[in-house]
């Protein structure tokens, strides 16, 4: 058995508004909000690293869990925007937390990595006890304003989650993970390059695959989409979240949204949203669905139910 124990987040302080982005891209600020639901995003300052954001999110999460770092048994670190190929930031995060023998795994799965991390943690909690999942992204250094349709979407930030074997506010019931590598080129970041995203393909596939993954997972457990009380999704685009809600025939209000404030922070966005959602919903009143779609393409969903 495994439980969601706590979430945490950290956002860099520098706010970049649509007016700022409009000045760099030639786009209209109001049109950016209409097309994406984004009003502003955060950019990390020069010199700040993916690791720095991840450490801050991890510390926030540990504080909320009231868990000393030395009780962590495994670290999973998701990032598609790391500064170097290897080692990934997971080992340095462990060292920053004073952990020098705890195993770590890096998950370079843009946008979907934190969901994959939670799913893996649910399977590994029996062996490792408390598992810290961190997702940190500095997307502002991966974009180019020569591709304004992509550049307007992204921001920087980090989120964290602790999955525990013994206790938490919600029990993880099950998960479904999928990958179709035929779309590997549709969302990619080459070494030294800038983010390449074929928006038409990403949205077309995501609008089909996310609702299907959610509905199939819920159905497996005798639930309809309407039975879930809370939906936490990768914050890619407000219009995508709305399309998923429509496809599932679920009121949009069940989907937590904070993309207006932070933009698309890739794999960090699910955990940043979850952290803000949990702060406002300490006692969830029904099944919780987490879902994401990202590079690979990789996508899936996690189902959890509140602990009475």
């Amino acid at each position: 058995m495994a439980f969601l124990r706590a979430f945490g987040a950290y956002l860099p302080p520098d706010i970049v508004t649509n007016v700022d982005v409009a000045a760099s891209t030639g786009k209209d600020a109001a049109a950016i909000e209409r097309a994406t639901g984004i009003r502003e995003r955060r950019y990390a300052a020069n010199g700040v690293t993916v690791l720095d954001l991840g450490v801050a999110a991890a510390q926030d999460c540990l504080a909320k869990a009231k868990l000393p770092a030395d009780e962590i048994g495994l670290i999973l670190f998701s990032s598609g925007s790391t500064e170097r190929s290897f080692p990934g930031p997971a080992s340095s995060l462990a060292a920053k937390l004073g952990l020098t023998t705890v195993p770590v795994i890096d998950l370079p799965i843009a946008s979907a990595g934190s969901l994959v991390g939670i799913a893996l943690a649910a399977e590994l909690a029996l062996r490792y006890g408390n598992i810290l999942i961190v997702a940190s992204e500095i997307m502002s250094r991966c974009i180019t304003f020569e591709d304004p349709d992509t550049a307007i979407l992204f921001g920087d930030g980090a989120g964290a989650c602790i999955v525990s074997r013994d206790s938490g506010f919600a029990r993880i019931v099950d998960h479904a993970l999928h990958t179709d590598g035929n779309y590997a080129e549709s969302l990619s970041l080459a070494h030294g390059g800038t983010l390449h995203m074929v928006g038409l393909e990403v949205i077309l596939q995501a609008t089909r695959k996310i609702p299907r993954a959610i509905a199939d997972l819920l159905s497996k457990h005798g639930l309809t989409p309407g039975a879930a009380a809370h939906y936490l999704m990768h914050q890619a685009n407000l219009n995508l979240i709305r399309k998923v809600a429509i496809a599932l025939k679920v009121p949009e209000e069940k989907f937590f949204v904070n993309i207006d404030a932070y933009g698309n922070t890739s794999s960090a966005s699910l955990l940043i949203a979850a952290a803000e959602w949990h702060t406002a919903n300490q006692n969830p009143n029904g099944p919780i669905v987490l879902a994401a779609f990202g590079a690979g393409f990789s996508w899936g969903a996690v189902l959890a139910v509140p602990v009475p």
């Binding site: 035929n182 038409l200 609008t207 089909r208 219009n239 995508l240």
Partner: protein, 78 residues
């Protein structure tokens, strides 16, 4: 039998346009379709023509013009 009337019906249902696009006019370049109306077009085509379009067939270029959409539907509907 031409499927253009049904295709145009779906296009007008999902896109905010006045006239009919020309059969070989790019629906993406003209702004008739974008990332978020394309999925609605696909769903509309499935309902209008009673076909199921698999994910593997969801290649944007396949839906770029009325002629291309018609050719694709012809390949699906005998």
């Amino acid at each position: 039998m031409s499927k253009q009337a049904g295709i145009l019906k779906v296009i007008h249902a999902v896109a905010d346009i006045d006239g009919d696009p020309a059969p070989d006019e790019s629906l993406f370049d003209s702004g008739t379709l974008d990332s978020f109306t394309l999925p609605d077009l696909v769903t509309g085509l499935e309902e209008e023509f009673g076909v199921s379009i698999p994910d593997s067939d969801l290649v944007p270029e396949r839906f770029d013009t009325i002629h291309k959409i018609e050719a694709y539907l012809d390949s699906k509907i005998v």
